[in-house]
């Protein structure tokens, strides 16, 4: 009995380590994008985002090992937990990818997109925070987690608006260097894609909330 409890708490503690690194990484990346907006991008901070992803990877591996250790009386729960951590890992990977991109980004942001860039950046941070909160709620409170998923959907809609505003401005710059326009739009699209990913994961979690009582 004690062993079963230990295994469960070990699993939960490891998942918390993983979520912490994902959140820390997204917070740092949020800060880095704000720095980019302010024109003072700190490359050391971007390295920290990459480090967070590596730590999250280690926590993920540990989590998977614990998850598949021993007998599985609820295989569907094990599989769903596995999928969940894999999906969150993709979000973390995308953060790392963007951090790498920002390290080599050679330009400054256009002034006329800074306000919308700030909006989409804040939405990114909020959606990742909400997603991690929702994942945590899945353990103990389906109802609140269900409500949370709609909030993430709203964030995605707002992010889409901001994205197209930014792209609209960028596409009206035929005289600017095409590489600058292209790379800047890439940053915006990558940030938006992470919000979309968060929304997709929240959708998946919502389907689990509907599925579980019928099991």
């Amino acid at each position: 009995m004690k062993f079963i409890k230990d295994k469960r708490s070990e699993l939960l503690n490891t998942s918390k380590d993983f979520y912490r690194e994902v959140l820390k990484g997204s917070d740092l990346l949020h800060g880095c994008i704000n720095d980019l907006i302010d024109g003072k991008l700190n490359k050391n901070k971007l390295e920290e985002v990459i480090q967070c992803e590596h730590k999250a990877d280690q926590a993920k591996e540990k989590y998977i090992n614990i998850l598949y250790k021993g007998k599985r009386s609820l295989p569907f729960l094990v599989e769903d937990r596995y999928r969940l951590i894999k999906y969150l890992d993709i979000v973390s990977d995308n953060s790392e990818d963007l951090a790498h991109g920002l390290i080599v980004y050679p330009f400054k942001l256009f002034d006329d997109i800074k306000a919308d860039m700030k909006i989409i950046n804040d939405l990114y941070q909020e959606s990742i925070e909400s997603l991690v909160e929702m994942v945590n709620l899945m353990e103990m409170d389906f109802k609140t987690a269900y409500q949370k998923s709609f909030h993430i959907e709203t964030l995605k809609r707002s992010a889409r608006e901001a994205k197209y505003k930014i792209l609209g401005v960028l596409y009206q710059k035929p005289k600017e260097k095409s590489l600058r326009v292209y790379l800047t739009s890439k940053i915006c699209i990558k940030v938006y894609d992470m919000i979309v990913r968060a929304e997709e994961i929240s959708d998946y979690l919502r389907s689990l909330i509907v599925k579980y009582p019928s099991k």
Binding site: K71, L74, L77, E139, D141, Y212, K215
Partner: protein, 318 residues
């Protein structure tokens, strides 16, 4: 010396019968299907309960096979019925298909009754047949209803993965305890079927006889039973709570049936309740379910024919 020879022959028959019954014991199917225990752990538990059930309960339960259907029973008839039942049980277990022991026994009784032109109580046979048809229907309906009730409860109260784990863990213990009790009492009951023909012959000690029977039941479980348990346990997707929904009503209704003297078939009820679960949860049932239904239909005539074939050599021996 002659008595010793007879005793050895009877003991061999007892071992075959107990082996056949043990081989077709699907009691632990729910525990296997819901992964509460693995096959190795199940085999250890099943062996313990087969032996202890036989030793502690076997003596108390005494049965006369075929009583109530066939008016005149002699030793050769009883032995023929038991051997043909055991052979049919072993055959179906080798095919990993669960059958009703009572069904096979009564098929053999009727076959012999017709062949020997003995008087049969047809009213009793019709009554039994009705219950054989009703057993799977009851199993199906009850598990269907229990699952739906449990689902309604879950929709209202299930709140997160941890609460699900906690609930399933509780069901794990309940299912484990009830199945162990069932295995224990079933071993005592099965033992009496096999042992009845030897009691009173020579100076053989009853405890030794019960131990041999218990070991044979366990032997049947270890050699053939695992196939039947796997086959039944995989009829539909099972978790501790759904194993509860299928096993507990089966056990409860069987108990009620035994108390009221209604001969319900545990195997038929369990298989039907698993199908009921699959329908209630919209989970596809395993392919090949028709084989189980086919063997149920074939059991009756097959046991009858087997008993007629076996009767001739048995009768000349006894």
């Amino acid at each position: 010396m002659a008595l010793l020879g007879i005793l050895v022959v009877f003991l061999v028959i007892v071992i075959i019968i107990a082996f056949g019954i043990g081989g077709n014991d699907e009691t632990f199917a729910g525990i296997y299907g819901s992964r509460i225990l693995n096959m190795k752990q199940i085999m250890i538990l099943a062996t313990i309960f087969a032996i202890t059930g036989a030793l502690l309960l076997g003596e108390a339960v005494s049965k006369t096979v075929g009583k109530g259907i066939l008016v005149n029973l002699d030793d050769a008839i009883v032995i023929t019925i038991l051997i043909s039942t055991a052979i049919w049980l072993i055959l179906s277990s080798a095919l990993r298909l669960p059958i009703s022991t009572t069904h096979a026994t009564i098929g053999a009784v009727i076959g012999l009754g017709i062949a020997l032109n003995e008087k049969l109580d047809w009213m009793k046979i019709i009554e039994l047949s009705i219950w054989w048809v009703l057993s799977p229907i009851i199993g199906f309906v009850v598990s269907f209803i229990v699952f739906k009730l449990m689902r309604a409860y879950k929709i209202k109260h299930l709140n997160g993965f941890q609460s699900l784990e906690k609930t399933e863990k509780s069901f794990t213990y309940i299912v484990l305890i009830i199945i162990c009790i069932t295995a224990f009492s079933r071993a005592g009951n099965d033992c009496s079927n096999a042992v009845g023909i030897v009691v009173g012959i020579g100076d053989i000690k009853v405890n030794l006889l019960l131990l041999i029977t218990g070991l044979s039941l366990a032997g049947g479980l270890l050699v053939l039973g695992r196939g039947v348990i796997k086959n039944v346990g995989r009829i539909t997707e099972l978790y501790p709570s759904t194993a509860f929904a299928s096993q507990i009503p089966t056990a409860g209704i069987l108990f009620l049936g035994t108390t009221l003297g209604i001969p319900l078939s545990g195997s038929h009820m369990l298989v039907a309740s698993l199908v009921g679960l699959s329908k209630a949860s919209h989970t596809p049932a395993k392919k090949g379910l028709w084989k189980i239904v086919l063997i149920w239909l074939v059991t009756f005539p097959a046991a009858a024919i087997l008993s007629i074939i076996i009767y001739l050599p048995v009768n000349s021996f006894f």
